[in-house]
Symmetry: C2
Subunit: 613 residues, 2 copies
């Protein structure tokens, strides 16, 4: 099995023991690795718990039965594979949503897990006291982390790196994860985030502060010559593509700010409209012009969209930071009506320092701002802060307040769904299945609305990024303003994204390359002979198994929906003025194509995909 | 015993029990109440611990043997007594200094303790879980505070007030106390602070979140007619005095900013000089002109120096706050070189919200700034913050970072002495006995230098405020720039201040009235016949007993000193240019007048004062 280390590290924090299990070749062939293999493991966990009489809906996301899985795939850490620096994190359930927990991150932690000898690390149970996991050269040790508890992400990373005393990578939680903020991240390599569905709170509930990985072994392609040849072709396409070869490199992901705003789909002030007349103030171009020091790519990456930034002076001065990415600029800035890019850089910095999901953080603040402007939050809850839209200082303050649950931060730490319910306006949470949606208003980009509604983990853009064809015209241009034909696109993108997240490499490669490039490269790496059809079937298998899992938690067609604002309130201005989302139309078609009834896969479909229940 | 409720509430948090003991008439006559009675109780505690083989130097300030005492005096809560809204807090040892813990606060908590039926509340032992104490109508209950732990001061106060459902007063700790920040406050009535020597950390170590007091009984003077007559005379003097009748009312304590700056004694940039050319930007006059909404006095106060303030907009916007006082403006502003009054208001607000001593907080940040400018703090400790003098945003951020021990806040939370030692420059901590000194440079006001050096609790101005005669000319003008004759003034002020803090009423009354006014008023209240001489002897007794206690902790003449900067570096500019403090000269004279040898009271002196060891 070229590309794999062949080993799973299983850590039981309740008993304080570790053991090593082999990767199953059969499962790897069916689910690749990363998200796929982890989803399979989660399903097995649910089955074993059911045998003990513990049913899926009874599993406390912050309890002892919620496994936390770090998973690489056959491409992770393979030099030359397009953008192979990523890893996937999964938990049985998300504390934010109650659905499956799923997040993905770059940096170098994924490769270093493999260099340390493991494809997958599974953390079970809970520790009584703070611990961290040291994984070095094929063995693992659970160590005391009392002195690290309370430390921020940067300090924790630095201290553990110094302690290991060699090239290593650290994934850890910050105070947000320790304090069980429901959308806390796992952070690696300081500024990289496994940042959705609150996987950091799960790690915090286990009192696991960090995992540090170091080692000298390297995963290798089974057929190096064929791999060189195939990967060169793919990398050439990436270099020649205007987005991956130039746009993302030069302006980072925030190149999208102006693009999406011009499409009238950049959600502004908690999605009251999709157009911000001042969007250029917070664009990737402005960021590059005023605050960019240099790029900082993930391990083995040629795109290097990561930003290193600095604010020289003023109230939001910060001498060194990384980011913010497009999504962070949007959520912390545009969604909150804040167009002071310096405040956004500072707010983003705090999200990284304390380990907070920027999308959920900004969106939850935006929700609070609308609640505030509607008079639903009593003054005495706010410690003197004016929560009006556009207030930069309130934005920055609310971020660290959330990490420490300080004052109003205690409520923000619950995410927008609980917050909006608590203050009497559940309709103001712009979330799906409890997960805050990202930076594209589906009233102007219809396909992404179907992706949001049907994503297994909740309001998610990176499990079916139809923005590529709808806006960027990749691989071909389709009309963003129609619901027609979107179901097929969404299904194909969801399935293929499962392949990417199980490979595991960077989704941005797919702007330039597709399954026809992945298949020969993965074949060269693994030594298996993948066809495009087999890869797409693997993707569909993973997506369906994940759906089976969330069905067990009670999610079905009723939850495959969007906030009422998107279904009923037409966009008041911009390129998509007058549009709402006709979700029912797309959903009906989508379920048919999927072979699902009311959001539940049929037995025939599961059989066809060789999913054993 | 008019003026007393006659009862002490003793709470043992280790066993979860409470009991009620009588106030001793004998002890009350010898020590009055407040600080005096509490000091007596601390001495008794030390004696009883010694019998068990636990010696003073072995007492952990955050351990089970460190009693926490809330003490009112015969004037507290007596309507008509000049400014009777205060109470005193003492602990056996301070976690910041290792010396005695002592702090004093206004608001209404002192009176409400009495209305609830108690003169003194003693908290012993430690609870395993967060608790609060509800003291209502003469009885007390220890209650679960799990839901309050982590809450800020404002929320805690509001929630407990709502829960009690009647007029009450709450004293509590914020996150700083919970997190054992070594200079954490106990806060009462939201913005009032018992704010020196880290009494909040002691409360936090006991897991005691709050004390709430309510009740309908009222302390009464023994001789109402005589009291009316005597108190009227005193109150008339207070009204006629330019400082207590007008200056403090109009401009608050910050009226001193320009006055002390003009005396060349407003410590600037960690005491590198005593003159700030921009001081008027942060003066009481500017505060009143731009940010003051109204006054907010303590219970029964006519001076009402307390400020209610607001910053309308901008990065430090705050819709409602109280303060800042002179000391807070100085420490958070002048000492750090920050002249942005809005940033100071915000920083002060965070100190109140989280329960931090403003003097120690600002001074510790100032110390860190000098360390930073001297290149002694590595960049990677600072999370991208530029700690240069004058940086407003760094100031504000470092305050909340300290409360949560976030990043560099972990080091600031230790106070300036430990911080300066940790980063290799102990001489840069502007503290005495580990307690940061307040806002008067003794190179320009010599007498206050002797007060700082000899204060039992460490660098303290309010146990012998010779600034009154040296600067304000009250009761008479003396030359601030000479050491001559200061020992006698310091001793008299220290002794009389013990009377005030045991009475307990506000020290500001002493700008207008003296022992000759206190004696008849206290006689009318208690029914005892106090002469001026007896009162002054009581004060001396208290000061000496306190000295006996700190001697037991190992403090003596070697600790009665000032930072080397004040002894060796002449002020470079301003009205006191060229001056240092000749401390040895004053100390020698002081010890002689005190009847002390090497900082230790002689047996003769103790006998003369009827102190029984």
């Amino acid at each position: 099995m070229g590309g794999y280390m062949g080993k799973i590290l299983r850590v039981d924090l309740s008993s304080g023991t570790t053991k090593i299990e082999p990767i199953s070749e059969e499962i790897a062939r069916k689910y690749l690795g990363g998200k796929g293999y982890a989803t399979y493991m989660i399903y097995q966990k649910l089955k074993s718990l059911e045998k003990e009489g513990i049913y899926p809906a009874d599993i406390d996301p912050l309890g002892e039965f919620n496994d936390l899985i770090f998973a690489t795939g056959p491409a992770t850490g393979i030099a030359g594979f397009p953008e192979p620096g990523r890893y996937h994190v999964m938990t049985v359930r998300s504390p934010l949503t109650g659905s499956i927990g799923s997040a993905n991150s770059g940096g170098k932690f994924g490769p270093y897990m493999k260099f340390a000898g493991f494809d997958i690390i599974v953390v079970e149970g809970k520790s009584d006291k703070p611990v961290y996991l040291e994984v070095v050269d094929g063995s693992a040790e659970i160590k005391d982390a009392s002195d690290l508890w309370g430390r921020n992400v940067f300090d924790t990373t630095r201290i553990l790196s110094d302690r290991v005393g060699r090239r290593c990578s650290v994934a850890c939680i910050g105070p947000a994860g320790e304090n069980l903020v429901l959308f806390a991240n796992i952070m690696n390599d300081e500024h990289r985030a496994a940042g959705r569905t609150g996987v950091g709170a799960v790690m915090g509930s286990k009192k696991l502060k960090a995992i540090v990985c170091a080692g000298n072994t390297r995963p290798k392609p089974e057929d190096p010559e064929k791999f060189r040849e195939e990967s060169k072709k793919a990398n050439d396409k990436i270099k020649q593509n205007p987005l991956t070869g130039e746009g993302l490199t030069k302006y980072g992901t925030a190149i999208l700010v102006n693009v999406i705003n011009n499409a009238g789909s950049l959600p502004f002030k908690n999605w009251q409209t999709g157009y911000n007349p001042e969007a250029d103030k917070i664009s990737g171009e402005t960021l590059a012009e005023k605050y960019l020091i240099k790029n900082h790519g993930c391990w083995g990456c040629t795109i290097t969209c990561g930003r290193v930034t600095k604010v020289e002076s003023g109230p939001y001065q910060i001498l060194y930071s990384e980011g913010p990415e497009y999504e962070s600029i949007w959520s912390l800035g545009n969604a909150t009506g804040v167009t002071d890019l310096e405040a956004i850089i500072k707010a983003n910095h705090f999200c990284d320092e304390y380990g907070l999901d920027t999308i959920s953080m900004g969106s939850t603040i935006a929700c609070a701002m609308e609640l505030y402007e509607k008079g639903s939050i009593p003054e005495e809850y706010l410690q003197g802060v004016d929560l009006s839209f556009g207030n930069s200082s309130a934005l920055v303050e609310m971020v660290w307040r959330t990490a420490f649950k300080a004052g109003f931060g205690k409520y923000l730490a619950l995410g927008s769904k609980r917050l909006a319910e608590m203050f009497g306006h559940p309709e103001l949470s712009m979330s799906v299945k409890g997960l805050e949606m990202p930076a594209y208003d589906p009233r102007g980009i219809k396909g992404i609305g179907l992706t949001y509604a049907t994503a297994n983990r909740g309001g998610c853009h990176v499990t079916g990024y139809t923005v590529a064809p709808e806006i960027a015209g990749l691989p071909e241009k389709i009309d963003p303003l129609t619901e027609e034909g979107k179901a097929q696109w969404v299904k194909a993108f969801q399935d293929f994204t499962c392949v990417v997240n199980s490979t595991v490499n960077c989704l941005f490669t797919t702007f330039a390359i597709g399954a026809e490039d992945f298949a020969p490269m993965l074949s060269a790496v693994t030594g298996w002979d993948f066809s495009v059809e087999e890869l797409m079937k693997i993707g569909e298998r993973i997506y369906n198994l994940e759906r089976v899992i969330i069905n067990k938690f009670g999610f079905d067609a009723k939850d495959d929906t969007l906030p009422p604002r998107l279904l009923k309130e037409a966009l008041p201005e911009g390129a998509a003025k007058g549009h709402v989302v006709d979700l029912d139309k797309m959903k009906k078609e989508y379920y048919e194509i999927r072979g699902w009834v009311d959001g539940v896969p049929t037995e025939e479909k599961l059989k066809e995909l060789e999913i054993e229940l």
